[in-house]
Amino acid sequence: MAQIHFSNVTKRYPNGHLALEDLNLQIEDKEFLVLLGPSGCGKSTTLNMIAGLEDVTQGSLKFDGAEVSSVPAHKRDVAMVFQSYALYPHKTVYENIAFGLRMRRHPSADIDVRVRNAARALEIEHLLERRPGQLSGGQRQRVALGRAMVREPAVFLMDEPLSNLDAALRISMRASIKALHQSMGTTFVYVTHDQAEALTLADRIVVMCQGVVQQIGTPDDIYERPANKFVANFLGSPPINFIDGLLERSGTTLQVSCGGISLALPPSKAVQLAARVGQQVTVGLRAEDVDESGAERGSGADCLIAGEISSVLPVGSDQFLGVRCGGQGMFFRVGKERSFSVGERIELPINRSRLHVFEAASGANIGVSDASRMAAR
């Protein structure tokens, strides 16, 4: 019904700015795809191209196999929820929702039924005769959703629809949007810069940076097996810890050393990275990858992070420790059983199997973590 296929699509603006570089993406029918990245990465541009609001400079865009890059926006079967909601200020809520159907010449009776059903589902029936200027932010957001819903489109586009809402409302709306996707059974393409939102909502995520796709995969893929430093850093809160160092051989094991630290890599990685001894690498270690169970204890001091606590941040159920070690600062999450104080020296055992190793120059992930490799198998 609505499979979208980008082939070698490039978008260049008249002033020379390159917004998208060689995008290849196939969006499957009925999937919830999230375009994730910082501002300027090209995610909104991609969305606008699907809607027909931006032209394709080079390459081809197909809906269900048919080329659509020359089809104007008002002829595509696409509905969109804008970040600013873009409600027509001089029309009533009813007319705002009905507008798309009117433009496509639906019979009035049919329009009325659809509008009222959508309004009921979104709990805005009592607002139908008001104007957008009289509504709160959350109410306007639901009107924008209603306007897109009634069209029952082949593709449902959303451009950061929750970013103007306050935190609590954002969380509850995420659930509503997920439920909407289940009930509508349509392809959803969703743009956001919020990685938590992406991980919650998506069937698949496309991570982008400066017009280039960094990685496409399921939330689990992206989180556990990041393709490069950018993806590893972008997902996860707090951001992943990076330790830069030199890959060395020490007897039969490989280790990464820098400053005062020397991190021994697990044996499986020794095989993977044997060829790269002597190169600069970056080790990626997530805040939650502290090995509290002590399973690896006994392997010696080289799987400990030893350093000085620089900050203690309680967050309700856990606490975050800022640790300085070998001149680098890191964050780890630990339980609340023990209390720590600033300045205290600490030795944290880490879960070596969850390390990633990235090439320092390109950022590419050359040593995907063991744990996830096992899960992928």
């Binding site: 002829k75 804008f82 027509y88």
Partner: protein
């Protein structure tokens, strides 16, 4: 100077502190002085004069006639002719300004190379004085040698030169054209500003909703322009109703009173017939009419202050 006890309570009731009140009055005083002396005083004095029969040809006798001047004005057929001419001129001018300015604003709202040139050139008619505007068009409209005749003749639309300003049927439209030409830039800019305040997303939403170019114009552009339209119509109507300069330069109220508008009527009465009293009366009537019209403007614009 200490505010007296009562004064201080009154200020406090309006949550204004005395030093602020003092500073404000101080900063306002130059403007108030100028306006009172040069605006308020003449307005009131004008009203006073209109109650007397003052003729400069008969300076010693200035009897009080009360509303006599006003009654005389209403009874004067030339007065009603002026009202009619003024209304025709105003309606013609404002309609033309609205249409042309809207088209120009829509054009200038597009992105294209050379747009800066257009918006710079646009200011030229606005910058020149009405006197030169009149003179320029008078030369173009000239029956013997004018460019209008010359162009139409060369394009074979006419086979001999035609009388333009001297033709009573054509006089008002021609003067209106000269007026419109000079007023359009300001109207265009005001409309353009309104256009630019429309968020781009609104057009995007309309496109996704299925509206083609015409649909977007009708459902997004026009409704958004409404406040701009109101402002331009009211402002230009006010300007047209009181306009004088072009009538002085181009036709002096003629031919045969074809362009005898209210402003000209007042001028003739005051400075040619030298009857200050009756001139002031008609002037005051015009003032009242424009005051009524502009009460609306001050209400809408004033609420944004």
């Amino acid at each position: 100077m200490q505010a007296p006890g009562i004064g201080r309570r009154w200020l406090a009731k309006h949550s204004v502190n005395a030093s602020d009140q003092r500073s404000a009055l101080l900063l306002l005083s130059p403007m108030m002085a100028v306006l009172f002396a040069v605006a308020v005083f003449p307005i009131l004095y004008s009203l006073w004069i209109s109650l007397f029969d003052i003729k400069l040809t008969r300076p010693r006798s200035t009897p009080f006639v009360g509303l006599g001047n006003y009654a005389q004005a209403f009874a004067d057929p030339l007065f009603w002719t002026s009202v009619e001419r003024t209304l025709i001129f105003t309606v013609m001018s404002v309609s033309a300004i609205m249409v042309i300015a809207t088209l120009m604003a829509l054009l200038l709202n597009q992105e294209f190379r050379g747009r800066r040139l257009l918006s710079t050139v646009l200011l030229i008619p606005w910058a020149i004085p009405y006197v030169v505007d009149g003179l320029m068009w008078k030369w173009i409209y000239d029956s013997g040698y004018g460019a209008l005749n010359g162009a139409l003749y060369q394009l074979h639309f006419i086979d001999k030169y035609v009388v333009w300003l001297g033709d009573t049927a054509k006089t008002l439209p021609l003067i209106a054209n000269a007026f419109v030409w000079k007023e359009v830039p300001l109207a265009t800019i005001l409309l353009l500003v309104t256009l630019k305040s429309v968020p781009a997303d609104l057009y995007g939403a309309a496109r996704v909703d299925g509206a083609n170019l015409w649909g977007r114009f009708v459902h997004v552009t026009l409704p958004s322009l409404r406040p701009g339209f109101m402002l331009v119509i009211i402002y230009e109507a006010m300007m047209a109703v009181r306009h004088f300069d072009l009538f002085f330069i181009l036709t002096e109220g003629g031919p045969a009173n074809a362009s005898h508008v209210l402003a000209w009527h007042i001028y003739v009465e005051t400075f040619r017939n030298l009857s200050f009293g009756s001139g002031a009366a008609v002037a005051y009537l015009l003032a009242l009419a424009t005051f009524a019209m502009s009460y609306v403007v001050i209400r809408t614009v004033g609420n944004r202050i």
